[in-house]
């Protein structure tokens, strides 16, 4: 394993309602506030009493063993499922009754655990779908090619290229997305999500299947995205190097419940977390 570059960790401060956010975000509205969020699938409590406050530019990690409910939380935040309990505020806006599209417009973008690109479309067109609600024109303009069509298409093209440049992918713009190598597909998913102009970016296992070198690159990119766009990033990840390396706040789930919250240092030494991951130490064992 390659050596993980240690980054100086942010000072975390207490925010009203007992949450912790990075000090630099204190003056700003939190981007996400979940309170008592939960969902039941016919009596099975997949997620229960989930509370979280995310600072404006915070990078947060959501970890936990398989089946702990991490992706379910993403699905609740993006309204793929409607929560049965609790509330989600995005940038102070209550998302009760919103659809996936509304949430996307409110500023939440996501990537998927199993890559979900538009495989038959070009790389650029994939990004343009993300821009769909930013730069748009009506159907009449589209069919009859009014001047507005050309200016908007040009804007879309320029914006898409600019975004692709973040990951150095602008030369692949005309390639079919489905024929990209795995790592590039993961990167393209992030670019596509960024195109929706989010305030909160949800990354579902962004480093899955990547080698340590690629993971390192991904970590740099996530930090760069956060700094350039001044957005908050929440990620689900099993790669502890990545999580401990870039996340400022970490939330550990097990069986749908939060078992620990805190900075990477706190989580690493938390006995409850160690137990959830490795099991209980035998009495008298080493």
């Amino acid at each position: 394993m390659s050596e993980v570059r240690q980054r100086p960790h942010t000072k975390m401060v207490t925010y009203p309602s007992n949450a912790v956010i990075p000090e630099r975000d204190l003056g700003k509205n939190p981007v996400l506030e979940c309170s008592h969020l939960g969902i039941e699938f016919g009596g099975l409590k997949a997620v229960e009493d989930f509370n979280l406050v995310l600072g404006r530019t915070e990078i947060a990690g959501l970890i936990g063993p398989n089946g702990a409910g991490k992706t379910t939380i993403f699905n609740l935040l993006t309204k793929v499922y409607q929560p049965t309990h609790g509330s989600v505020l995005i940038d102070g806006l209550d998302t009760h009754g919103m659809t996936t599209v509304d949430v996307s417009k409110a500023g939440v973008a996501r990537t998927f655990q199993n890559i979900r690109l538009f495989g038959n479309m070009s790389v650029e067109d994939n990004v343009r779908i993300g821009l769909h609600n930013q730069i748009k024109y009506d159907m009449f303009t589209g069919i009859f090619r009014l001047p507005r069509y050309f200016t908007k298409e040009k804007q879309q093209h320029e914006k898409a290229m600019e975004l692709l440049d973040i990951f150095g992918m602008s030369s692949l713009a005309d390639v079919k997305a489905g024929s990209l190598p795995y790592g590039a597909q993961r990167r393209l998913e992030i670019v596509r999500a960024l195109a929706t102009n989010p305030k909160l970016l949800l990354l579902d296992e962004p480093a899955a299947g990547m080698n340590p070198h690629e993971t390192q690159e991904l970590m740099d990119n996530i930090l760069r995205i956060r700094d350039t766009f001044q957005i908050s990033v929440m990620l689900i990840e099993h790669d502890m190097n990545l999580v401990m390396g870039i996340c400022e706040g970490i939330c550990v789930l097990n069986f749908g419940r939060v078992i620990a919250k805190g900075t990477p240092e706190e989580i690493q030494s938390n006995p409850v977390v160690i137990e959830a991951y490795l099991g209980k130490k035998k009495e008298g064992g080493q």
């Binding site: 996936t100 479309m121 159907m139 069919i143």
Partner: protein, 371 residues
């Protein structure tokens, strides 16, 4: 036709495509003046143009938006009836609606207006049906739309609607493709346009569909086809875009239905069966799901095969004194089915796959460049 903003200068392949299309139109126009109007060629071209429009409209739905709908015959029927009802000249209405005292509608619209109205009525019904039906997915949607087409067919034959639809009787004597021929004072045809005008109508409609597909809306449609969940997460409103695609497709199916009415010169609801939808689906599949060019090409091939090239199989043929075995009435359909099976087995992605004419030209050009 397709102005791509991506390239600064116009793509030569697109120019070449435009040139080819222009040549086809000029060719059709000249052929019509030279060749006898009773030639089988024109039957094929007229019906081919009609089917091409309907096939492209179905491809917009099935191939580009990923909505598997089998209601095309129903929307064509609505279009055909709307067109026929509003264009029968007032003086002929008494004879057409002989069982219904000349019907209730006592005015006539110009063919052009009636044709657009045909599309609009079909689109309106699509919107109405789309509200509940588009929530369904894949096979269920296909079954629901198929059922709708059957219901429409039954309703239009209902005797109580007779004053409007003429019940189950035939609608006739409305302007057909031959009305486009320009005649002189003695009634002699000076310029034949009976094939050129349908080509023009179908061409304009298909061009509009292509322009739509190459705009942001087309991209949104394709994203729904590729991955609904991801499209929704990126802010593409699924319900809205599916409804839009369904209505637009039905609009052009309605116009296609009006053209079919003109081609047949008579309309009767019972001829718009499920088999017609399957014919069109077959054309779309053979042409390539997701290729406009493929749909157009296979429409003409399909119509030519079924109406013309394979006709000889239905009659007893002699080579010298030798009678070719098996040839008799109905054998054409056997051969036709076998051909279709071969196509489906060996060209599973259709003639064109998802490629279009400019792609084809571009590839050729690149290969030549490498050599």
């Amino acid at each position: 036709m397709t102005n791509q903003i991506k390239q600064k200068k116009v793509d030569p392949a697109v120019l070449l495509t435009a040139l080819i299309i222009l040549c086809v139109y000029v060719g059709v126009f000249i052929a019509e003046q030279v060749i006898s109007p009773n030639s089988m060629l024109f039957t094929v071209l007229k019906k081919g143009a009609t089917y091409a429009l309907v096939a492209v409209s179905m491809n917009l739905l099935n191939g580009f938006t990923g909505i598997f709908s089998l209601g095309q015959a129903g929307f064509m029927l609505i279009g055909a009836y709307t067109y026929a009802i509003f264009t029968i000249p007032v003086e002929h209405r008494a004879s057409v609606y002989q069982y219904f005292n000349g019907g209730v509608i006592q005015f006539t619209l110009p063919w052009f207006v009636a044709m657009i109205l045909a599309g609009l009525v079909a689109a309106f019904f699509a919107w109405l049906i789309g509200l509940p039906v588009l929530r369904l997915k894949s096979d269920y949607l296909a079954i629901a739309t198929l059922g709708f087409a059957e219901i429409i067919r039954a309703i239009l034959q209902w005797n109580q609607l007779g004053p409007v639809t003429n019940g189950s009787n035939m609608l006739r004597l409305f302007p057909n493709f031959n009305s486009f021929n320009i005649t002189n004072a003695e009634g002699k045809v000076t310029v034949y346009l009976s094939t050129f005008v349908p080509f023009l109508i179908a061409g304009i409609c298909i061009a509009l569909i292509v322009l739509l597909l190459h705009s942001g809306y087309g991209r949104a449609f394709k994203s729904i086809r590729d991955d609904e969940i991801a499209a929704e997460a990126m802010g593409v409103n699924l319900a809205h875009h599916k409804q839009l695609a369904f209505c637009i497709s039905s609009f052009f199916a309605g116009v296609g239905g009006a053209m079919l009415a003109m081609y047949q010169t008579t309309v009767q609801a019972k001829s718009f069966t499920t088999a017609m939808t399957y014919e069109i689906l077959l054309i779309v599949v053979i042409g390539g799901i997701g290729s406009v060019t493929g749909s157009v090409l296979s429409s003409f091939l399909f119509v030519a095969c079924s109406e013309w090239w394979l006709r000889f199989l239905d009659n007893e043929q002699f080579i010298g004194d030798f009678q070719v075995p098996l040839l008799r009435n109905g054998f054409r359909l056997v051969v036709f089915s076998v051909i279709i099976m071969i196509v489906v087995l060996f060209f599973r992605r259709g003639i064109m796959g998802t490629r279009e004419l400019p792609d084809l030209l571009r590839r050729r050009r690149k290969e030549a460049g490498i050599k």
